[in-house]
């Protein structure tokens, strides 16, 4: 039951992510019902990012929740939750947090007094040793101090236990709070920011995607794996050429390449905003035979590949010198996704579970820089896509469809002739300090300077596999895309 409840609770927590894949009405429905469950189940929320000091478990990271600031403007927070369709009792959270702060003060005061009592006792003992005589009234004083020490010890135990209990509630609730919403984000429906070559959209297509794949003789759909496929000949060469084209362009624009592992541990996946319990979010690897782990065990490995997790893994628990910011990186590699509500409905290469992705990430010192960095990234991506001379558009995604970790998202959508619709091929999103607060990615000017979490702009620059499918549908395989 607990497992089911956790699952439902996480589903609620991540329903914005699901929202990306479902229709708005379905999202609203899920939002409504899961939110109720979340409220009922919030005490069961589990995480690999927090372990109370009373547990034998420990975590690799400290969650910097920033509740003192977040709970200052309750109206803003309430509005954010409403826009995202999340039902969450923030007043309960605030009350719990205030209780936590009060308990913390109480604990500190007790610890302070215990320390003073211990000091007094030590002084008396020392004086006694030095004078080798019993001063009048000392025995009585010692007795009183020892009594007080005992009482304080008991009081500390009680306060500490209460504090741990409240802390668990507070941190687990805080972890389920979504990111802020950027004021530019549309509330109801997507907004087309820019439409490129709309007049060149192929309107009449007499073949479906599968027929085009079959007739090309360059794609083999196979069941050697789950929704597996092979690209052959020119199409496989084109894949390498496109990798080369995108990476060269990003390099020219001053981004530095990072090649990262494809597997990530539970805490990183969770801090990345993915649901580690729902199998449709990421492939989990089989653990060593004979061992039994809970879903939240930090030792689980997840296969995801090139994604925002690649950058998070690289910078986790790193302090970046402010002089180095902003840092702009990109990566390229395989991306893996399990079957989910959306990809199982997409045809052929559009619904493939393995693709080649080019992703970019900027880490900035301040939140205000995120907007500038987002604009720069959108501009850079547009310049690359224009070279393909294919109809594409930039779309601002409405708040209900944002993932919990996103403040805003602009999608690059490309025209797919056989589907007679635009399909996402890339995106640029502001993630703010959502991940860095969970993974201790911080910046400071120097050793004395206060450390602050950094702010992240993430971009799926392109999905090479989707691009190949689109180029194939447009009959555009002849152009030589390689830069060398």
């Amino acid at each position: 039951m607990i497992r089911v409840a956790r699952y439902l609770c996480m589903t609620s927590y991540h329903k914005r992510h699901i929202g990306r894949m479902m229709t708005y009405s379905v999202v609203k429905f899920l939002g409504k019902h899961c939110a109720k469950l979340q409220n009922n189940c919030s005490c069961l929320y589990s995480t690999s990012l927090f372990a109370s000091d009373r547990d034998i478990d420990s975590t690799y990271f400290t969650f910097d929740h920033d509740l003192a600031k977040n709970l200052q403007d309750m109206e803003k927070l309430q509005h954010n939750l409403k826009l995202r369709g999340i039902s969450f009792d923030i007043h309960q959270l605030k009350a719990n947090y205030e209780e936590l702060c009060s308990l913390d003060k109480k604990r500190s005061a007790i610890e302070q007094r215990r320390s003073e009592v211990a000091h007094h006792i030590a002084v008396i003992v020392k004086n006694q040793k030095e004078s080798k005589t019993n001063m009048p009234g000392v025995a009585e004083k010692m007795k009183i101090l020892k009594e007080e020490g005992k009482t304080l010890k008991e009081a500390h135990k009680v306060v500490q236990a209460h504090l741990w209990e409240v802390e668990e509630k507070v941190i687990r609730s805080a972890l389920s709070l979504p990111n802020e919403v950027h004021p530019d984000v549309p509330e109801d429906k997507e907004v087309i920011v820019e439409d490129y070559l709309a007049d060149k959209r192929l309107r009449i297509v007499d073949k479906d995607h599968h027929v085009i794949l079959e007739e090309s003789n360059m794609v083999k759909i196979s069941n050697v794996g789950s929704r597996a496929y092979y690209l052959r000949g020119r199409l496989a060469v084109l894949e390498q050429e496109l990798i080369d084209r995108f990476t060269t362009e990003l390099h020219r624009k001053g981004l530095t390449m990072i090649l990262a592992p494809e597997m990530f541990k539970t805490a990183l996946v969770e801090a990345g905003g993915l649901d580690v319990v729902d199998p449709s979010y990421a492939y989990r690897l089989k653990h060593k035979e004979g061992s039994s782990l809970s879903d939240w065990d930090q030792d689980h490995m997840f296969l995801r590949g090139a994604s925002h997790l690649s950058f998070l893994a690289y910078y986790a628990r790193m302090q970046i010198s402010s002089d180095s910011l902003p840092v702009r990186n990109f990566t390229v590699g395989r991306n893996y996704r399990p079957v989910n509500a959306v990809n199982k409905t997409l045809p052929g290469l559009f619904g493939a579970l393995q693709s080649v992705r080019v992703c970019a990430c900027t880490l900035a010192e301040r939140m205000e820089e995120c907007s500038t960095e987002c604009d720069m990234m959108v501009q850079a991506i547009k310049e690359i896509y224009r070279e393909f001379d294919l109809p594409f558009r930039i779309v601002s995604i409405p708040v209900q469809l944002l993932c919990a970790y996103e403040q805003k998202r602009l999608e690059v959508q490309i025209w797919v002739p056989t589907m007679q619709t635009y399909l996402k091929v890339g995106s640029v999103a502001a993630h703010g300090d959502f991940h860095s607060r969970r993974l201790m990615i911080r910046s400071a000017r120097d050793r004395q300077d206060a450390v602050e979490p950094v702010h992240m702009v993430y971009s799926d620059v392109t999905d090479i596999t989707t691009m190949l499918a689109v180029l194939l549908e447009h009959g555009r395989l002849d152009k030589y895309w390689r830069t060398m």
Partner: protein, 456 residues
């Protein structure tokens, strides 16, 4: 060669026996859905692979028993021909259908474990018996203390191997900046050469059904397995490919090629996932890692003269020599001893590069002739000039395993100031760079050791 003659005159094949067995049980045999089905419903079809078409004439012939037993002993001792024959007898004489099926499964499992026959020229014995057949270039002599790849990479600010366990697990690494570009340069360099040599580039799936991997001769279960599997409680029964040889073999599995189109040569650029671990000092750093990029060659030939595979193996070896030669590495070619041949290999050559800092020969590539070992398990056949269906010969080789090639390159071409010269052959793929130097542009990062928290 006597054994080979037996193979060619084969009559008993497992599929025939299997069909017979099913008919005896009154179960109709359904046609196998071969993987060549291009229709979209291929994804909906359950994956099916017939039982291995083992060479039973050869295995069950009493005259071959000593030869097979000797072969097993000379290799790693895996497989038991006496048990195979015993199980066959029990299977053949059993009348009870349920027990017969039980024996069939046991027989099949035991027979699949019998390794390929070794080439008569393969040195017999353990790894020390492997024979050096060629040596190329000379080690560079320098007057300063050499740095290891880890020291070089970290000083350049382009390699990270520390503090990775909590996020991506042990034996993982990051290449950044020019070292990351070097990975792609090596891939392009290898692919370009192979395209010129007539190889077809294939982009392959990395998640495969265990049957394909087992069919290539690799174990997916048990203690010796080096294969990652998805959690079966959450996902389909899938494994992560350890080398592109597996998906490339899967591409052809169940298919029939024309004699005229052979030999067929494929290559793939893929990520390789291996669960193997090592605590040997030489293997720390990026020598033995869980995930890496590799350009793999995979070729199929006919089996008319039984020499096609060996000729193809030599071709692959020549390609490897050209590729590594142009990188200015000091390397040698070894004809691997019988104990070093994996179960599928008939003959194997390893290329080892001199790792000057730690003063050892490190394997950077290999090439194997697997004769019909894999094609019998994966049902890969060709139509002979006389119209007979025969099993193909498969040959594979590594064109470039990136991390190990980078170790050899960095350590060999390092300069006294910690910079690394880029070999001429690679420069066009590195944007013309002739030297890699530490960049002052990279972010200044400090690992956060302490993570005590305050409740507020």
């Amino acid at each position: 060669m006597m054994m080979r003659k037996v193979i060619q005159t084969g009559f008993f094949t497992w599929s025939k026996i299997n069909t017979l067995h099913l008919q005896l049980r009154g179960i109709a045999t359904t046609p196998v859905r071969y993987l060549s089905n291009q229709r979209t419903d291929t994804w909906q079809n359950n994956f099916q692979l017939q039982d291995a078409d083992l060479d039973l004439d050869n295995l069950l012939d009493a005259r071959n028993r000593d030869t097979i037993r000797d072969n097993i002993t000379r290799r790693k001792g895996v497989g038991d021909i006496d048990r195979v024959i015993d199980l066959w007898k029990q299977y053949s004489t059993e009348i009870d259908m349920s027990r017969k099926e039980d024996f069939r499964q046991q027989f099949l499992s035991a027979a699949r474990e019998i390794p390929n026959l070794s080439h008569p020229h393969s040195p017999v014995g353990d790894e020390h018996m492997s024979r050096q057949v060629e040596l190329f270039n000379k080690p560079k002599s320098v007057s300063w203390p050499l740095k290891s790849v880890v020291e070089l990479g970290q000083q350049l600010g382009m390699l990270r191997i520390s503090n990775v366990s909590m996020t991506t697990g042990p034996s993982t690494y990051y290449f950044t900046d020019k070292l990351a570009r070097m990975e792609y340069a090596l891939v392009k360099y290898s692919v370009d050469h192979l395209l010129k040599m007539g190889f077809e580039l294939v982009s392959v799936p990395d998640l495969l059904r265990p049957e394909i991997i087992e069919g290539c001769g690799f174990k997916t279960t048990g203690e010796v397995a080096q294969v990652y599997m998805l959690d079966p409680s959450r996902h389909d029964n899938l494994c992560l490919a350890g080398t592109a040889e597996m998906p490339l073999a899967g591409l052809l599995a169940g298919g029939t090629l024309d004699f005229e189109e052979l030999p067929k040569k494929f290559m793939a650029v893929s990520r390789c996932y291996r669960a193997e671990t090592s605590h040997a000092e030489n293997e720390l750093g990026i020598y033995r890692v869980h995930q890496f990029t590799k350009v793999e060659m995979f070729a199929v030939a006919s089996s008319e003269t039984m020499e096609e595979g060996n000729e193809l193996l030599m071709q692959l070896l020549d390609i490897e020599k050209t590729l590594f030669g142009q990188l200015g590495l000091h390397y040698r070619v070894l004809d691997m001893s019988t104990a070093e041949l994996g179960a599928p290999a008939h003959r194997k050559f390893d290329m080892e590069a001199w790792m000057p800092t730690k003063q050892f020969w490190g394997e950077i590539s290999s090439a194997s002739n697997c004769t019909d070992y894999q094609s019998r398990r994966l049902h890969l056949r060709y139509k002979s000039p006389l119209g007979q269906l025969k099993h193909c010969t498969t040959v594979n080789g590594t064109a470039c395993a990136v991390p190990r090639t980078i170790i050899a390159l960095l350590e060999t071409h390092q300069n006294e100031d910690g910079s690394v010269s880029v070999p001429e052959g690679l420069r066009p793929y590195m944007g013309g760079d002739s030297v890699i130097r530490a960049s002052d542009q990279g972010p200044k990062l400090t690992w956060i050791k302490d993570h005590k928290r305050s409740v507020q």
